[in-house]
Amino acid sequence: MTATVAQDVLIAVENVHKRFPLPDGKGEFTVLSGVSLTVKSGEVVALLGRSGSGKSTLLRIMAGLIPPSQGQVFSNGKPLRGANNDVAMVFQSFALLPWLTVQENVELGLEAQGVKRDERRQRALKAIDIVGLDGFESAYPKELSGGMKQRVGFARAFVLEPQVLFMDEPFSALDVLTSENLRGEIDDLWNAKTFPSKSILIVTHNIEEAVFLADRVVILGSNPGRIRGEVVVDLPRPHDRASPRFASLVDYIYTVMTNPEIEVTGEIVAKTTPTLATVSPYAKALPHVRVGGISGLLELIVDQPQGTDDIPRLAERLQLAVDDLLPILDAAVLLGFAEVSQGDVRLTEIGQDFATTTILRSKDLFRQQVLTHVPVLNSIVQTLREKSGSSMRAEFFLDLWDDHFPHEEAERQFATAVDWGRYAELFEYDAGEERLYLPEPNRDLESSISSSTPTG
C-alpha cells in the first residue's frame, strides 16, 4: 500500500490490439493499437484521452469484460481468461440496481462470491461506513442524490477489497461542487493509507482531475487509440493545486492534447511537421461540432486582449471538460479560424472577422473556409454537381464513410457534414427522402415567399 521501492506489478497489458469489424464486411476498425501498460502496487494511474482514444475500451479489456483482438493482459502474473477477479469498478453512471437498497447493492459482489449472510452484512456495513453513508443502509438509490449514489458505487467496490480499483470517469456525471467534494475525499482516503485497494486506475478526460489524483498520467492518442506517452506527477501528496508545478503540468498536458503531432516526453518539444498523405477525403474525421458552437467560442475569445486565450483558463471559465472543448478548438483550427500553441489559442484574421461580422457575411466566410480546408465537403459538392438533377441519396455518402469508420461514427460524420453544408448553403438535405441536393440558383427569391427549409 505504501510507495516502497520494490513495486509488484499487479496488472500488465502486453501489446494489446482491439479491432471491431466494419459493417458489410468492409474490413476492420482499429480502436486500440499496440498498447502496453503496467499498473504497480501502491500507485494511482490515470488514463487520459479524448473521446475516440479507446480509453474506456482499454479499461474494459483490463477488467476482462471484453477480450482483446491480439495481445494479452496479465493480472497478478496470470493471463486473463474472463472477468478479472482482482479488480472492482466504479462506473460513470453508478450502475446501481434501483430495486435493491444501499445495503443490498453493496452486498451484491459478496453474494456472488457465496459469502454467508452475517459476514456479508458486517463487511457491507463497514464499507458503507468508510464512504460516509451511515444511516442510509435501507434507502433505495432513487432516494439519494447523485453524489451519494456514487458513494454507494465506491462502497460496492471497496467491500470486495480488490487489488486494483478501476474508476471509469467516476465524477463526470456529478455537478461541479459534488464532484470536487467526492474527489477530495477519495484522495484523502488514499493519502491516509487506509485505502481498501493496493492501486487505483482511473479513466478521465479531465486534465486537472488526472494531475490531482494520479502519480502517473498516461496519455492516449486517437485514430487508432494508442499510448502517446506518460507524464509523471512529481509532487508530494496531496497534490497542491496552487503550486506552480501543478499549473505547469496541467499546461503541458493541455499543449500535448491539443497537438496530436507532439511526442509526449514530459518536456515541451517543437511541433513536428505533419505528414501529408493522399488518402480519401472521407478518411479524415470531422470534429463533431455544430457551427453555432464554433462561432460561440470564437466570440468569447475575440473579447480577450489580442484575441488570445489560455486554454485551461478558458475551459474553467466555460465549465467544459476536454471532451467538449477540444473538438470545438479542433474545428476552429481546421477551418483556419484559430491557431493553437503552447496551451494558448489565438484567432486568425479571418477568425476575428467571422466572430464579429453579420450573419450573412459570416456564412460567406464559412463557405469559403470550408471549401478550401475541408476536402470532404468539397468532394460532396463535386459529386452533387456531376449528378443530373444535382441530387444524391444519403446512403451513397454514408457508404463512403463506412469504409473508414464503424457505422455509428459514419452516421455522426454524415450529420456533422450536413450541418456544416447546410450552414454554408453548399447543399441541402431532405431528411424524409434521405437525399442531398444542390440549392437551386434562384433559391433566395423563392425562400422569401415559401416557408424556409428546416435547419438543425
Binding site: 471484453i66 430495486w99 451484491l108
Partner: protein
C-alpha cells in the same frame, strides 16, 4: 436477563387489523379455489354426459369463478413460457434467429385459430374428463396473452443498461443471480403492463372458448361464456343482463385485488434513478404493507431462500466474457443458416402440397377473396372508429380533469369482452333488418374501437402545453389546427392504437361474421366465417388454409403498413 415481556410488547397487540384482514382474505381465496377447482374434475362422457348450464342467475358467481380460474391458470403458464422463451431468445444468438421471427408469426395467427386446431387433440388427451376441454380453453387464453408478454420480456432483456450488465459481469454474478437480481427486475414493469393488457383482452377468448362446436359436436364448459351461449340459445335477455353485470364486477374485482397491488409494488423496479412524481397506489398493497404477517413469513423463509439461491448459483456459473468468434464458428453459422433454409423450404412445400392435394388452387383464391372482404371490413372499422373517437379522445385528453376520471373507464371498456354485447346487437340487427355483412363491422368495432379512443387520449395528453399555447397565440383554428398540431402530435399514439385495434378486429372476425340468436343464425361473407364454419364441420384442410390465409394477411399488413407508420412516427412525429 429479562424473563417477562416488556410493557411495550404487551401493550402492542401482536396482530393489527391489517393482519386479520390478510388472514381472512387468504382463507376466502383458498376456499374459493377449492370449491371451483373440484368442478373441473367431474366425469364427462361425450356424447351421453355433457355438463349442462343452468340459467339461474344464482349460479353465476360459480360460473364466473370457473372462468376466472381459467384466466389465472393461463396467466401462470404465460408467465413461465415468457421467462423461458424470452431468456433463451435473448441469450442464444442462433436460437434468437429462429425464435423471434417465429414469435412474430405466432402473434399474427388468430387466437381462435389456435383453438380450432388444438381442441380435438386436447379432448383426445384426457378421455372421459372435462380436463381436455379445460386445457383447450386455457390454451386459447394462453395464446391471447403470451406473445405480447414474451416480446416485452425479450425487449427488456436486450435493453438492460450496458453498465449494469458490466457490473454484473465484473462482480461475477452467477447466471441465476443475474436472472433474479438484474434481468427479471428490469423487465418487471413492462412485463406487468403487458400482462395486464393481455389479461383484459383474454376475457373475450375465455367467453369464446367455453362453448364451441367442433366436428359437429357442441362442447360446453361450465363458465360465464357458456352461460351467455346458453342464454342466447334460450333467447333469455334477463339472464344475459345478469351475465353482463357479473363480468363487470369480476373485471373490477380482479383489477382492484390483483393488478393494482402488483402495479403499485412494481414501482420499485423503475429504472429512473430519481423519485417519481406520481406513484401508483393501491389499497390492497397498502394493507399488505401494513400487516406484519407477510413480513414475518418472509423473514422466516429467508434462510431457505438463501440456501436455494446458493444451490442454483452453484449450478449456473457465470458466463465467460471471452467467447472467441473463430472461423470455425462462422462456418458453423453458415451451416446453421443453410439448415434453417432447408427446413423452412420443406415446411412451405409441405403446406402447399397439403392444401393443393386436398382443396386445390381454386379454394386458395377463394379464401384470398374472402380475406379481402374481411380486410375491407377492418379498414372501414378503423376509419370509422378514427373519425368518431379521435375528436372525442383529443377533447378528453386536452382536459386533464376529465381525462383523470374517464381514463380508467375507457380502460375498463377495453377489457370488457365485446362478445357479451353481441347478442344484444344481433337482436337489434334481426329486428331492424340490418344486413350482417355491414353489421359485423359494428360487432368487430365493439371490442376494437376502445384502443383508438384510449390512445387518442394518451396522445393528446402528450402534446406539450407550450405547443397548444403557441397554436392559440398564432390563431390556428379548425382544420388548420388539426393538420398542423393535433394530427402530428397524436400520430404515434394513433399508430399504437391502430395496430392493436386492427389485430383485435381480425381476431374478432371469427366470432363476429357469424352470430346467432336462438335458432336464427346470421352469416356474413368473410374469412372469419370461413374459419368458423370449417371448425364446426372439422374440415382440417380448410381450417389450415383459412388460418394460414388470415395470418398471411396480418403479417403482410404489419410489414407493408404498420411497420412503416411506426418508423414514420418514431422519426418524424416524435415529440
Amino acid at each position: 436477563m429479562k424473563t417477562f415481556p416488556s410493557p411495550e410488547a404487551l401493550r402492542r397487540f401482536p396482530f393489527g387489523l391489517a393482519d386479520i384482514a390478510v388472514i381472512l382474505g387468504t382463507l376466502v381465496l383458498l376456499a374459493f379455489i377449492a370449491r371451483i377447482g373440484a368442478g373441473a374434475l367431474v366425469s364427462f362422457e361425450p356424447p351421453d354426459v355433457m355438463p349442462a348450464i343452468d340459467l339461474d342467475p344464482r349460479n353465476l358467481p360459480y360460473y364466473a369463478g370457473r372462468s376466472t380460474l381459467r384466466m389465472f391458470i393461463a396467466l401462470f403458464f404465460s408467465t413461465v413460457f415468457t421467462l423461458g422463451y424470452g431468456y433463451v431468445a435473448a441469450n442464444s444468438r442462433r436460437a434468437e434467429r429462429v425464435m423471434i421471427p417465429l414469435l412474430d408469426i405466432l402473434q399474427s395467427v388468430p387466437v381462435l385459430g389456435f383453438l380450432s386446431v388444438t381442441v380435438t387433440g386436447f379432448i383426445a388427451l384426457f378421455p372421459g374428463s372435462l380436463l381436455g376441454l379445460e386445457a383447450a380453453s386455457v390454451f386459447a387464453i394462453f395464446t391471447s396473452q403470451v406473445w405480447n408478454m414474451t416480446f416485452s420480456f425479450y425487449q427488456s432483456l436486450r435493453t438492460v443498461p450496458k453498465e449494469l450488465n458490466e457490473a454484473a459481469t465484473l462482480y461475477q454474478l452467477s447466471r441465476w443471480q443475474r436472472f433474479t437480481k438484474l434481468e427479471v427486475p428490469s423487465a418487471t414493469i413492462g412485463l406487468l403492463w403487458n400482462a395486464m393488457m393481455s389479461f383484459g383482452g383474454g376475457w373475450f377468448f375465455v367467453a369464446a372458448s367455453e362453448a364451441i362446436s367442433v366436428l359437429n359436436q357442441e362442447y360446453t364448459l361450465p363458465g360465464i361464456g357458456s352461460y351467455v351461449a346458453a342464454a342466447i340459445a334460450d333467447e333469455n335477455l334477463i339472464a344475459l343482463g345478469w351475465a353482463l353485470l357479473t363480468i363487470a364486477i369480476v373485471i373490477v374485482l380482479v383489477d382492484q385485488l390483483f393488478w393494482r397491488p402488483l402495479i403499485a409494488w412494481s414501482d420499485k423496479f423503475r429504472m429512473e434513478q430519481s423519485a417519481s412524481v406520481e406513484v401508483p397506489e393501491s389499497w390492497v398493497y397498502d394493507l399488505l404493507q401494513t400487516a406484519r404477517i407477510p413480513r414475518m413469513l418472509s423473514k422466516a423463509l429467508a434462510p431457505t431462500r438463501e440456501a436455494v439461491d446458493r444451490l442454483l448459483s452453484q449450478l449456473t456459473p457465470p458466463v465467460s466474457t471471452f467467447k472467441d468468434r473463430s472461423n470455425q464458428e462462422q462456418r458453423g453459422d453458415r451451416l446453421y443458416d443453410a439448415l434453417l433454409l432447408v427446413i423452412i423450404g420443406i415446411l412451405i412445400a409441405w403446406v402447399f402440397h397439403f392444401i393443393l392435394t386436398t382443396v386445390g388452387l381454386g379454394e386458395v383464391l377463394k379464401t384470398f377473396w374472402l380475406g379481402i372482404v374481411t380486410l375491407l371490413r377492418v379498414t372501414i372499422l378503423l376509419l370509422l372508429a378514427t373519425a368518431i373517437w379521435t375528436p372525442v379522445g383529443v377533447a378528453i385528453g386536452f382536459n386533464p380533469k376529465l381525462a383523470r376520471i374517464l381514463q380508467p373507464v375507457v380502460q375498463f371498456f377495453a377489457s370488457f369482452p365485446a362478445n357479451f354485447i353481441f347478442p344484444f346487437a344481433t337482436l337489434f340487427f334481426i329486428r331492424t333488418n340490418i344486413s350482417i355483412e355491414w353489421g359485423s363491422i359494428l360487432l368487430m368495432a365493439l371490442g376494437a374501437q376502445w384502443y383508438i379512443l384510449f390512445n387518442s387520449i394518451a396522445g393528446a395528453q402528450s402534446i406539450p402545453t407550450d405547443l397548444r399555447e403557441m397554436a392559440d397565440d398564432i390563431g390556428l383554428k379548425g382544420w388548420q389546427r388539426w393538420r398542423r398540431l393535433i394530427i402530428p402530435g397524436i400520430f404515434s399514439a394513433w399508430v399504437t392504437g391502430g395496430v392493436t385495434a386492427s389485430g383485435g378486429a381480425w381476431n374478432a372476425s371469427i366470432v363476429s361474421e357469424i352470430v346467432a340468436w336462438g335458432a336464427t343464425t346470421l352469416t356474413a361473407t368473410g374469412l372469419g366465417t370461413y374459419i368458423a364454419e370449417a371448425t364446426t364441420i372439422g374440415d382440417w384442410p380448410r381450417i389450415t388454409l383459412g388460418i394460414s390465409m388470415m395470418s398471411l394477411f396480418v403479417v403482410g399488413l404489419n410489414r407493408i403498413l404498420w411497420r412503416r407508420l411506426y418508423r414514420l412516427a418514431e422519426t418524424k412525429y416524435h415529440l
